[in-house]
């Protein structure tokens, strides 16, 4: 370690530089010209290996880690390991959420996609997911692999993200008294066995029970699931429901206006299912952005999050006769193939105050 010019000579450096240059050219060639005997997966693997070789050469020879004190290598490797762990955790975090809800959607929306009809491969077809949604779901490598792994059917309406029993208990604790009036959105009551009160209530969502408007309505849905699902929205619309001026529109005080309008109740579901894009004006302020489609959330989740938003930030005082959304209502709005721009048109047709 004590010699003056440790490790490498100019000749070594030049050789390394040459190799780096050649690898860069190879990378370019592999991408620019389709190599017939390499599949896409193999090409990606080749690209990753080539970049790792470049990475290693620079670190070992140009940064002299090959001949330098081990302490430096130790510190740097620790950083790399942390970075890699973060990288993997981030990927898994997002993938599992996306896949699980996309999966729940595939098996929940259309009730009886009996395993007996058609080959397993056709099940997605039968569940009626539009092509573009499938493309969206499988558009990144992670999801594609995982959705192939997770092809075991799960019971209807039971997503991986449904709240744990403890949360159910907590949310149901204060509101147990009147279960038969409405369908509760807890997984227990939406199991495939169609109980009479449940199917009866879904066909008549009329606001006939207006004697006590806000109180019973506000409690008849899965609040824990609603709050949990709102985690998807909070980044843009904020925990205060006020959005970000100039960037993301507020939900507070705005949703009730949409809800109260003629057709507004189903419009809100469509915004979540199909997204919304283009210029809108909310309380005199213009927003020109895009709301993504949340089609890959489950029906339960969409219903719950809508109920959560319509009963938060003082919104519950502004809606006329609020009836909680039901999963079936959400499911009925699916598969219309609307574009975010069409949803914007729909918004224009609402008569807003």
């Amino acid at each position: 370690m004590s010699h003056e010019h440790r490790g490498s000579s100019v000749a070594t450096y030049t050789l390394i530089a040459l190799i780096l240059g050649v690898i860069t050219y190879l990378e370019f060639s592999v991408v620019e010209h389709d190599i017939p005997w390499l599949s896409n997966g193999e090409t990606i693997a080749a690209l990753i290996i080539m970049s790792l070789i470049k990475f290693a050469l620079v670190v070992a020879f140009f940064m002299h880690l090959k001949d330098d004190e081990r302490t430096y290598t130790g510190f740097f490797s620790t950083g790399m390991i942390f970075a890699l762990a973060t990288f993997i955790a981030l990927g898994l975090l997002f993938t599992f959420r996306g896949v699980s809800s996309a999966w729940a959607r595939a098996y929940s929306g259309t009730g009886v996609v009996a395993a007996s009809e058609g080959a397993p491969g056709e099940e997605h077809e039968a569940s009626g997911i539009p092509e573009e949604v499938k493309a969206l779901i499988t558009s990144d490598g992670y999801s594609r692999q995982l959705s192939e792994v997770l092809d075991t059917p799960r019971p209807k309406n039971q997503s991986l993200t449904s709240p744990p029993p403890a949360a159910e208990l907590a949310s149901g604790f204060t509101l147990k008294p009147a279960p038969p009036l409405f369908t509760s959105a807890t997984p227990a009551s939406t199991t495939p066995t169609p109980s009479e009160p449940a199917s009866g209530a879904t066909q008549t969502p009329e606001p006939s029970t207006t004697e006590t408007p806000a109180v019973p309505a506000a409690v008849e849905w899965d609040q824990a699931l609603g709050e949990q699902t709102f985690a998807n929205c909070v980044g843009c619309h904020q925990a205060t429901g006020k959005g970000i001026p100039g960037a993301f529109p507020p939900l507070a005080e705005h949703l009730p206006k949409l809800y109260n309008a003629d057709g507004g109740r189903s419009y809100l579901i469509k915004v979540l299912l199909y997204g919304l894009q283009g210029k809108i004006t909310v309380s005199g302020q213009d927003f020109n952005g895009a709301m993504p489609s949340w089609q890959n959330l489950g029906d339960e989740q969409i219903a719950a999050v809508m109920n959560h938003e319509l009963t938060s930030w003082g919104n519950d005082g502004l809606v006329d006769s609020f009836t909680p959304y039901q999963a079936e209502e959400v499911s009925a709005q699916r598969d219309q193939g609307l574009t975010p721009a069409q949803v914007l048109e729909l918004r224009g047709s609402l008569e807003l105050p």
Binding site: S2, A17, A83
Partner: protein, 198 residues
């Protein structure tokens, strides 16, 4: 350890020059920083609702050239350090200037690319691709800018105050930073640009 460096630096229990150890620790932390940014880019990859998409807008030949320029600047960096260790000051100045110059060319490419993208409608707020792409490559661009400024200041300092092989550790530390910026780009070039076109 180079003798020169040790003469110049106060000893610690690590028996390593503080400045160099600090740089490696900083680089380790920067790994995590870029790891998160690249992870974020990948997580949101293919989830943009509106264009422009990466396939429509990224330019592989152009980026290959700028990647090559950055790689070669790393080569000049080791030459500069080698020259300074041999007390060959004219060569040290030449190669250091070369590094800063090549770094500036890389930045020029990036400025061209960003301007082109914005004119095509890809802004920070346009879609998820715009957001994650500009934050990732922009952060890298800032690193390159800092590196260019750092090396330029060393070059200028060498005219103000004579430099010798005893000062090599200062150039070495700047070099470590520069090579790190280079390896981050090696990863970005593959993950953001090349893989998209397979």
């Amino acid at each position: 350890m180079s003798q020169a460096a040790l003469e110049h630096q106060p000893y610690r229990s690590t028996k390593l020059p503080d400045i160099k150890l600090m740089m490696w620790i900083f680089l380790a932390s920067d790994c995590m920083f870029f790891g998160s940014l690249i992870g974020t880019y990948l997580v949101y990859k293919g989830r943009s609702l509106v264009g422009p998409t990466p396939l429509e807008i990224l330019n592989i030949p152009l980026t290959t050239i700028s990647s090559f320029v950055l790689l070669m600047s790393s080569f000049l960096m080791v030459l500069a350090l080698h020259a300074l260790r041999l007390d060959n000051i004219p060569q040290f100045r030449l190669w250091t200037f070369g590094v800063a110059f090549f770094g500036s060319i890389f930045l020029g490419f990036q400025i061209f690319e960003f301007t082109h993208f914005v004119l095509e409608g890809l802004t920070l707020q346009q879609n998820l691709f715009g957001t994650t792409f500009f934050v990732l490559t922009g952060t890298h661009g800032i690193h390159v800018t800092v590196g260019v400024l750092w090396l330029s200041s060393i070059l200028i300092a060498s005219f103000v105050r004579p430099m010798s092989s005893k000062d090599a550790v200062y150039l070495e530390v700047a070099g470590l930073y520069w090579h790190f910026v280079d390896i981050v780009w090696i990863v970005i070039f593959t993950v953001v640009y090349l893989v998209e076109f397979v």
